[in-house]
Assembly symmetry: C2
Homo-oligomer: 308 residues x 2
Amino acid sequence: MTATKVAILGVGKIARDQHIPAIAASDAFDLAATVSRSGGLEGVDNHPDIDALVLARPDIPAFSLCMPPQPRFEIAKKAILAGKHTMLEKPPGATVSEALTLADLARAQGVTLFATWHSRYAAGVAQAREWLADRTPTKVEIIWKEDVRRWHPGQDWIWEAGGMGVFDPGINALSIMTEILPDPLHVIAATLSFPENRATPIAADLTFAGPRGLQVSAGFDWRQEGPQTWDITVQTDNGTLRLSDGGATLHIDDAKQTLQDSGEYPGLYARFADLIAAGQSDVDLRPLQHVADAFMLGRRETVAAFHD
Amino acid sequence: MTATKVAILGVGKIARDQHIPAIAASDAFDLAATVSRSGGLEGVDNHPDIDALVLARPDIPAFSLCMPPQPRFEIAKKAILAGKHTMLEKPPGATVSEALTLADLARAQGVTLFATWHSRYAAGVAQAREWLADRTPTKVEIIWKEDVRRWHPGQDWIWEAGGMGVFDPGINALSIMTEILPDPLHVIAATLSFPENRATPIAADLTFAGPRGLQVSAGFDWRQEGPQTWDITVQTDNGTLRLSDGGATLHIDDAKQTLQDSGEYPGLYARFADLIAAGQSDVDLRPLQHVADAFMLGRRETVAAFHD
């Protein structure tokens, strides 16, 4: 198979830490160009913006967009209108409506749109989904508590309106939840804690309802010092499952499972290649929908100021 | 044509003011029963809850749900699972996700689900939509300013988390906007003003973006004393349209248009009858999606306390 040429748009921390190594390790893709205003990578063709890239490199059929969601919509629209298969970092938009617009546009243009959720490719998720497929969940508890100072040092955009605050990591948990639980869920109560000097929440507690009385509780907190917790526990009619370390570790009835870990971002690029080959898109907006619903429904409380 | 028997669930202000007179004037429906805990209507079979209604009256194929959105989901689910054609007052849910769940359920059950937006049946809306169909909008301004004390006296639920505050009337404007403008829009900025003693906003300013540089501004305010304003102005490449009085009055290039007004709720019930006859559903969630997006994206500000 010939590798597909791909361009990275937005060469920030996530591109350098994850996308570029995943493409380097992939047989399916070759990194052919970048778009970066602050300079790209040694030895890779760089362009100042998407317009310049589209003009100069008609030979590149696939674009991977790695910038934050706020500026991303207009760039994604240009990519799709230029006929490019397009991959979006999470979340797929600053709003659900804009992501729906992109999905419609991709359908009309006949290109692949892949709204990625990298946590779904954590080592334990596929096996958790399979184990749950023939069981009935009775109670689900999600705890996602981390230290924002450690993971987002100096990233002001996460604290600005539209930056989502603690939902930036929390949406990873919701992406796993919607992947492994087949039942439809909706938020029935939420409390969002806003630092008095910030526009986005530093903590959130959500309750979801599902069929047959199923309840899911989710606690997200960015004020966790010491050990970090990214756990999902699912009690069922036939055993209990625990995903921990953000999905990388799986216990079933307290027995640690042996997992094959090929990496989250390599998993995303393998999926992107499959979607392109099949002429399909993958735009699952449920995780973002739950966040928007929680903002609409939630009770707001003000907590102590946060200083970076 | 034989009239279809319909039951009203939730006999509050909106049922008495609008639904019951519209059904009384309709050839398509007969009011056959009500569900009300506080007593129903003189001469109409009343039941204490939906379970009692379903058991006692298998002859009634259509249910119209008139209670506020917070308790409505579980009742709507029971109605659909009982095989009833189901009509929902606006908004169709406390969350978008629950409305999507109901739509899926109705599809699986093969019944009609009608998520209503009564303002779309205001006298000028259909003609506005038709006039805009072959024009290109360049600028849209929505002003929806009313006195909450006049329209919602003592209604505490609108101020509680999930009650949506000023979006309760504002969503009517958004339902007209999404009906008359064919272009996809999404919120790009929002400011929500919360009274310091309330959980929902008393005012909101939204900016939407659309294709070809189209911008839509919407200002919702519940603090309007004196004259009330429910106006939508659409500038196009070929003239200007103004819907006022909540859609009841239409001006094109300052000339007042002659309209046929058959009433918003009679229009809803005529549509419900058509949907049942055609075996179709109508669940357009865009107005609610825009509200959820505005809550997720919006900047919050605190304003003076509101006392009823």
